[in-house]
């Protein structure tokens, strides 16, 4: 008998729902992306390479990827601490704080961008204080990192939170009864257990940071070669009717997104294997 691709299910409507899924995914995601790829690959190869390796483009990659990686790393540390205090302690206002974590998700990114720019600008009330210390945040790469930290925080917190809840009190009790001190318990038991979740959170925050636009452009100052991020460069190229340049950079970003998603998947699989999925407890 021929092997069936679809396992029959007692639920009716498979044809309809699957058809809709394919149609929806194609029209909303695949089609525009395919158009982008075709447009980019239509550019002669040598010109494409030239566009991708343009000095301004490379500087923007460095800023986008560097700032995103740094912001994700900062978030991995502080997001973990936030998640820890939300999961482990009971304090007044905990639920409110828990809700506030999602604000960067919900807020239009332009709003957070303007808010950050206002606070950190040399005349803003944090900016003036930092200026005394000789640190300028707005219109420098530091500002980009600050914006990306704000945007990326919920990704880390929301990834780590369920994993931390999963670390049963039993495990820590067991380690403690076996003679392990607090630091040892944290390093040998808690950290390894939540590592996959933390890695997922880091990768998500990183991916989001690379693509972030709205919150960054107001605080970065957008100086070419200095504080210009790749998504902004695409917009600039579009405004200058440089469609080839925009398509080439878009294609590059798309490829990077794929790599990111692939990495996230690998990380998750690794975590599941390590924690022994299947025999759940």
């Amino acid at each position: 008998m021929a092997k069936r691709i679809v396992v029959p299910s007692p639920l009716p409507g498979f044809g309809l729902t699957f058809g809709f899924t394919t149609f929806f995914l194609s029209s909303v995601i695949l089609l525009p992306l395919a158009a982008l790829v075709i447009r980019a690959l239509g550019i002669p190869f040598s010109e494409l390479i030239g566009l991708l390796l343009d000095e301004r483009a490379v500087a923007s990659y460095r800023l986008s990827f560097g700032a995103a990686a740094l912001a994700a790393a900062i978030n991995a540390v502080f997001g973990f601490i936030v998640a820890w205090s939300l999961v482990r302690y009971e304090f007044p206002g905990r639920r409110l704080l828990d809700t506030m974590i999602d604000l960067p998700f919900a807020l239009p990114t332009a709003v957070s961008g303007i808010a950050l720019a206002t606070v950190f600008s040399p005349t803003g009330w944090l900016g003036t204080k930092l200026a005394i210390a000789g640190v300028q945040v707005a219109y420098t790469w530091i500002g980009v990192v600050v914006a990306l930290v704000l945007i990326g925080l919920p990704f880390v917190v929301r990834s780590v939170q369920p994993a931390l809840i999963e670390v049963r009190k039993d495990l820590e009790d067991a380690a403690e009864s076996l003679g392990a001190g607090g630091f040892h318990v944290f390093r040998r038991i808690i950290l390894p257990t939540i590592m996959p979740a933390l890695a997922t959170g880091f990768t998500l925050a990183f991916a989001r940071g690379i693509g972030e636009y709205g919150s960054v452009v107001f605080i970065s100052g957008n100086l070419p070669l200095k504080t210009e991020i790749t998504p902004l460069l695409i917009v600039i190229k579009l405004e200058q009717y440089d469609y080839n340049g925009a398509a080439a950079l878009g294609f590059f970003m798309l490829a990077m997104s794929f790599v990111m998603l692939f990495a996230i998947n690998l990380v998750q699989q690794w975590g599941q294997r390590r924690m022994g999925l299947g025999v759940q407890r």
């Binding site: 049963r168 039993d170 495990l171 009790d173 067991a174 380690a175 403690e176 009864s177 076996l178 003679g179 392990a180 001190g181 040892h184 040998r188 038991i189 390894p192 257990t193 390590r274 924690m275 022994g276 999925l277 299947g278 025999v279 407890r281």
Partner: protein
């Protein structure tokens, strides 16, 4: 002494989950803490391991007071219900965890690990991850891990709870064997009585945070001291029985001149004899009933006999299958018995008992006494009495007729005008305790015990009985009149302390003790006024005028509170 607990108390949000537990466990002993879920047994175990901080009391391991010592320095082995294995570590790393923490050398670790895995029959599993093992194997790893650092105390928290019956049986045997081989003092927590019977040297039964009774399995089964233990350890019929001299009858006495002594009789189903003919002389007649249910249960036959409430009376109020006029008695028979005398559903049988154990409980039943039906029902349904009866699994009967003697069980009266007189009359006519309730009284938050001299032991026994079921603070009050000579004071104090230690011994009850000097009535009033919702347990040495006046003040005065009066036994004083 391997493990010693002294008045260990743990509260969550001021509600005690472990209440005043004291016990000592010998070197190499296997103690099973048995109790329903929520009885505080797991919390107690965690307190011993140091995983839970206690609010009061002391924990000693091998003579070392470890109350303030953190878990990692107590050196106990702990096994959790859900194994709590480190899932990212191999079996080897799990087992060696405690050794690594102690910076043991690699070769020594390997040797110890091999030895341990052999002990739990998991040789060669070193490199597996916990996820690759079955539940039973995981728990074996957990046991090996807990034993790695050679703890002198092993604590197991429902270790078989997540396993199926066959594996459970096997693991039970393994653990018992290991425990005996190593001679490690062990406490196991479970809610499964079969498990307790199978493994324990001694069983401690916990209920509502208190350690009710401790004893060997057969001791606890044959001679329980409390209703709870009698029914929690195996099936039991609890009946109200009436003793006159050496004769025991189960028929409820009518209005008689002399009040018989009421007891709570425990009759195990296997001690029930069902006959259709005459009852043999060496058996105690219980009554007669009709077979309602016959059930084949493998090696035995289980029967339920419907008994009319008019004859015998169950001691517990909400027995399964009971209605207003009849109740169900459990019996079981072996097959030889069944062959010799086959029975059928609907058959009328005479019920007798081969062996009867009477509970040493001071409160057998309550009898609400009032002049008319409306008042007696109000008294019966008052919140305090209803709550007490439900918690203590004690029956409330009612009586409205005037009789020549006090009712059996504890008479319950309404406070107010005339209450002191009625209370004294009951005490003089056969009752050994009287309970006087103000209208609408609630469960007390504090119980003050003023024991008296001769009545002290009885009063403390009653107080212990109450306190086992009521999560109330308890205070033992001793008042010395200012002008009492020194010598008498000492004698008085000795009586008090004797009564207290007897209460501790008999009922596991420990009370905070307060000594006061001054006018007895004023001091008592002061103590009772310190907190609303108090209750008084009063030991009454004599029924003289002075006591009468005091009772009048307590039972008829402007501020009323529940008072339980315990009379000194006959012949005393």
């Amino acid at each position: 002494m391997s493990i010693a607990l002294d008045q260990v108390t743990k509260r969550y949000q001021s509600h005690p989950v472990v209440n005043d537990v004291s016990i000592e466990i010998q070197q190499g002993e296997f103690l099973v803490l048995l109790g329903p879920s929520g009885s505080g047994k797991s919390t107690l175990l965690r307190a011993i391991a140091g995983l839970v901080e206690i609010d009061h009391g002391r924990v000693s391991l091998h003579g070392r007071d470890v109350t303030g010592v953190v878990a990692r320095d107590r050196g106990v082995g702990f096994v959790f219900q859900h194994y709590a294995l480190f899932r990212h570590m191999s079996v080897a790393d799990n087992v060696e965890f405690a050794l690594r923490v102690r910076r043991m050398k690699r070769a020594d670790r390997l040797e110890r690990r091999t030895e341990l895995l052999k002990l739990v029959a998991l040789e060669g599993m070193d490199d597996r991850l916990p996820a690759q093992l079955s539940g039973g194997q995981q728990q074996r790893v957990a046991v090996a891990r807990a034993l790695a650092h050679r703890p002198e105390v092993l604590l197991l928290d429902e270790p078989f709870g997540a396993l199926d019956a066959k594996i459970r049986e096997e693991l039970r045997r393994t653990i018992r064997k290991i425990q005996q081989e190593l001679g490690v003092s062990t406490i196991l927590v479970t809610h499964d009585q079969d498990e307790a019977f199978a493994m324990a040297d001694r069983i401690g039964v916990m209920h509502q945070g208190r350690l009710l009774e401790v004893g060997t399995p057969d001791e606890l089964y044959a001679r329980p001291r409390t209703r709870f233990v009698a029914t929690f350890l195996g099936a039991a019929n609890l009946l109200l029985g009436y003793r006159r001299g050496s004769a025991l009858r189960f028929e409820r006495p009518g209005a008689e001149n002399v009040t018989p002594r009421e007891i709570v009789a425990v009759i195990r189903p296997e001690e029930v004899e069902l006959t259709t003919g005459k009852v043999s002389k060496d058996l105690t007649l219980v009554g007669s009933g009709v077979v309602e249910e016959l059930q084949f249960a493998g090696s035995t036959e289980r029967l339920r006999v419907r008994m009319p409430m008019t004859g015998t009376m169950p001691a517990t109020p909400d027995r399964e299958g009971a209605d207003g006029s009849s109740w169900l008695l459990d019996a079981s028979r072996t097959f030889p018995e069944q062959r010799a005398n086959p029975l059928a559903v609907g058959q009328k049988v005479t019920v007798s008992a081969r062996r009867i154990h009477s509970l040493p409980t001071p409160i057998t039943s309550f009898t609400a006494v009032a002049r008319d039906q409306a008042n007696v029902e109000a008294l019966r349904d008052s919140p305090l009495l209803a709550a007490l009866a439900a918690r203590m699994q004690t029956r409330i009967t009612i009586r409205t007729t005037r009789t020549a003697s006090a009712p059996p069980g504890m008479p319950v009266l309404a406070a107010g005008p005339g209450a002191a007189g009625t209370a004294l009359w009951n005490l003089a006519h056969g009752a050994s305790q009287v309970f006087v309730l103000p209208h609408g009284a609630e469960l007390p938050a504090r119980i003050v015990v003023l024991p008296g001299a001769e009545a002290g032991v009885g009063a403390l026994g009653v107080a212990a009985s109450l306190l086992r079921h009521v999560p109330a603070e308890s205070v033992l009050l001793a008042i010395h009149e200012a002008e009492t000579p020194e010598r008498e004071r000492a004698a008085h104090l000795r009586v008090l302390l004797d009564a207290r230690s007897k209460a501790l011994l008999d009922h596991g009850l420990d009370l905070r003790t307060e000594l006061r000097f001054g006018d007895p009535d004023a001091e008592l009033a002061r103590e009772l006024g310190m907190q609303a919702n108090s209750m008084l347990v009063l030991g009454l040495d004599s029924l003289d005028d002075r006591e009468t006046a005091r009772l009048k003040g307590l039972l008829e005065g402007p501020t009323l509170l529940p008072v339980l009066i315990v009379r000194a036994p006959d012949g005393a004083g």
